[in-house]
């Protein structure tokens, strides 16, 4: 096991700058998730760690070794691919044993390790089968098995669950988490699914356009996003945004738009005062919008209900606020009808403000 250190790495393709100076310190035994939309550079970064992609600039260290010029096999890593990449002509046993055979382990040791990994993953009954005789979930288990038999320093996961159906994905997610708790191998996991990122990662790295937007523990990203992009990317349903203008009156700071006039909380007042008269973006998560009870008119605004989605544990209200749209998640006991106008209150503790131009959190 080892720490991984990524230092200002760049990746240029012919005329495309895919990764723009990414730096990341991954501690020993840590599970770090790289998350972002397609083309954000997360997979390229992972492939550079694996040695499948050359590094244009910068250094990658595994343990204390600069691995920039080492071929994949000398980096002591194992990778799980999106489409499993199982050798179709080999049995499950041979798939898992291949890496050990290439490294000239003796037969008894190979058998011991493969049997052990198969036992952990519950695929002992399938060892003699070919990959095509297995279901998607079983194949992914074999791919995991192939990674763990070698007992490498680092596991790399390249969107390993995206070929599975929704139910299986949740199940495998839990298994990967368990596996990491059991083996404690340093892991880097790439996904575009923010729920996977939040549930699996000790720390989550949000990337966009080849740059890191924010690094932090899952709840840190959720509660204090560094910018509007992270705020919108993390959380489902996504955070609501509304364009407002900041106004200071008698020591109080107000966020105003044609559809609402909301008083900013004290904790943000000083910082927001600097934006007096300027446009900003107010951000509030669906669960932080509450049905108004008349106690705080300075935090209340009117919205028109367009659709009410009953989920059982909550109701999602698709709302029209002025010219914009919002989503509120309210108690299942609330009774509203489409077309009705309702009063909603923002939770002042959970309000976010972003600079309209830079989109950085205020």
């Amino acid at each position: 096991m080892a720490n991984v250190s990524i230092r200002k790495i760049h990746k240029h393709y012919a005329d495309f700058h895919a990764v723009k100076g990414v730096s990341l310190e991954i501690k020993d035994k840590e599970f770090v998730v790289l998350v972002g939309p397609s083309g954000c550079g997360k997979t390229t970064t992972l492939r550079m760690v694996a040695g499948l992609e050359s590094i244009t600039e910068g250094d990658i260290l595994i343990g204390n070794t600069v691995v920039n010029n080492l071929p994949p096999m000398d980096r002591d890593i194992a990778m799980v691919f999106q489409n499993y990449a199982l050798y179709p002509h080999m049995s499950v046993f041979d798939n898992m044993a291949f890496g050990l055979k290439m490294r000239k382990f003796d037969k008894a040791e190979i058998k011991k390790r493969v049997d052990n990994a198969a036992d952990i993953l519950g695929i002992t009954d399938h060892l003699t089968r070919k990959p095509r005789m297995l279901s998607g979930g079983q194949r992914q288990r074999v791919a995991l098995g192939r990674a763990i038999v070698r007992n490498p320093q680092v596991f790399l996961f390249d969107e390993p669950l995206s070929n599975l159906d929704a139910k299986l994905r949740v199940q495998m997610r839990v298994e990967i988490k368990k596996l990491h708790q059991r083996l404690s191998t340093t892991s880097i996991y790439v996904t575009h699914d923010q729920i996977e990122a939040m549930t699996l990662g000790d720390r989550v790295v949000v990337m966009k356009d080849g740059l890191i937007q924010q690094v932090g523990e899952p709840l840190e990203l959720y509660n204090t996003p560094a910018n509007k992009y992270v705020a919108g990317f993390i959380g489902s349903p996504a955070m609501n945004f509304a364009n407002v203008t900041i106004k200071t009156e008698n020591g109080a700071v107000w966020a105003e738009s044609p559809a609402m006039r909301i008083r900013a909380p004290e904790r943000l007042a000083a910082r927001l005062a600097a934006h007096d008269g300027k446009p900003a973006v107010i951000g509030i998560r669906p669960e932080d919008l509450l049905m108004a009870n008349g106690t705080s008119p300075e935090l209340t605004f009117t919205a028109g209900v367009e659709v009410a989605e009953q989920l059982g544990s909550e109701i999602l209200l698709d709302l029209k606020v002025g010219t914009g749209a919002m989503v509120a998640s309210v108690e299942p006991t609330v009774r509203v009808k489409p077309g009705e106008a309702i009063q909603l209150t923002m939770n002042p503790e959970r309000m976010h403000f972003f600079d309209a131009k830079t989109e950085a959190a205020i």
Binding site: L52, M73, F81, N83, A85, Y87, P88, F98, R103
Partner: protein
């Protein structure tokens, strides 16, 4: 109280299905197969049956002939040229297939990489395959000409450079370069065989290269990457991953090539006409010479039919092997 009233419900309207013969699988199959059946019947089955009938008669040009049973075949068994033809054909097929496979695989592996002008190169590689065989074979024939050919000229030039190089050290050659470079390519029995083998390889490699390239492209690059991470070196990646996955395609390509080469006619006919002294005759050229050249139609038919059981055996063995490889 339970209502027991029975009402007469009007029968639901059930329209008769329209007669759509092509919706019926049996009819559709017949319609789809008909053009193929007609073509195969006219151009394969009919000549084949005619060939069999000819081979058991004593037809010659202008003589309808009569039933002679297997006399034509038994005569072949005592024909020394026929034995030579069998040897030639087997050797020719064996050697060219091995070279075509090796060179084609090598080219396919190269073309499967990313490089500039990839599309152009791939198209360029196909040239020998696209040019009509008779035309390109004529070009080869000129290249093998003993007096005026580029090959002998090239050998002479090499010789002259060697002589002038050794001349620097005062070493004189035993024979002159003009004499040394007089290879009679198509007039010498051994050289002529090698000449037609070379032309066949040159013409057949693109087929192997392009087919194997298509096979290579169906192999996910992830597998090679996974193997690289698993610690396999390039040669091991080829041997343990690429080759086994390419094997079914390879076997089909080899099968096609063997059938084509075994019954080859054009190259030999243009280059040597089977000569010198029958040294390069294959089944097809010998059958043609007997049947059409000499006019012994029945004898020619017997020769070309003699090819059938051998080829049939080879094809069966290969098909069985392909089936085993594919169901692994």
């Amino acid at each position: 109280m339970v209502a027991t009233a029975v009402q007469t419900v009007p029968a639901p309207h059930t329209p008769e299905p329209r007669w759509r013969p092509l919706e019926n699988e049996g009819w559709l199959a017949l319609v789809l197969l008909l053009p193929t059946l007609v073509l195969l019947g006219l151009f394969i089955a009919y000549p084949f049956v005619r060939g069999i009938l000819l081979s058991v008669s004593s037809s010659r040009v202008g003589v309808p002939g009569e039933w002679v049973g297997f006399a034509n075949f038994t005569r072949l068994l005592s024909d020394p040229i026929f034995y030579m033809v069998v040897r030639n054909t087997v050797w020719y097929t064996f050697i060219t297939t091995i070279f075509k496979l090796a060179l084609g695989l090598w080219l396919a592996l190269l073309l499967n990489r990313n490089f500039r002008f990839k599309a152009f190169t791939r198209a360029f590689i196909l040239l020998p395959f696209i040019i009509p065989t008779v035309l390109s074979t004529f070009a080869w024939k000129w290249m093998f000409d003993p007096t005026f050919s580029v090959l002998n000229w090239f050998i002479m030039k090499m010789c002259q450079w060697k002589v002038s190089f050794f001349g620097l050290f005062g070493i004189e050659p035993a024979t002159s370069c003009v004499v040394q470079a007089q290879f009679n390519w198509l007039g010498d029995a051994d050289l002529a065989m090698w000449a037609i083998i070379i032309v066949n390889i040159w013409r057949g490699v693109p087929f192997f290269a392009i087919s194997l390239l298509a096979g290579l492209q169906t192999i996910s690059p992830d597998l090679a990457e996974a193997a690289a991470i698993d610690g396999a070196k390039p040669l091991q990646r080829f041997w343990y991953i690429t080759w086994p996955l390419l094997l079914p395609v390879t076997m089909v390509v080899v099968l096609f090539s063997v059938i084509q080469t075994f019954a080859d006619f054009q190259i030999v006919y243009v280059m040597t006409g089977g000569g010198p002294a029958n040294a390069t005759h294959l089944f097809a050229t010998y059958a043609y010479q007997m049947g059409v050249g000499t006019g012994l139609l029945s004898q020619g038919a017997a020769i070309s039919l003699a090819m059938f059981p051998i080829l049939f055996g080879i094809v069966i063995v290969q098909l069985l092997y392909i089936r085993r490889v594919e169901t692994r």
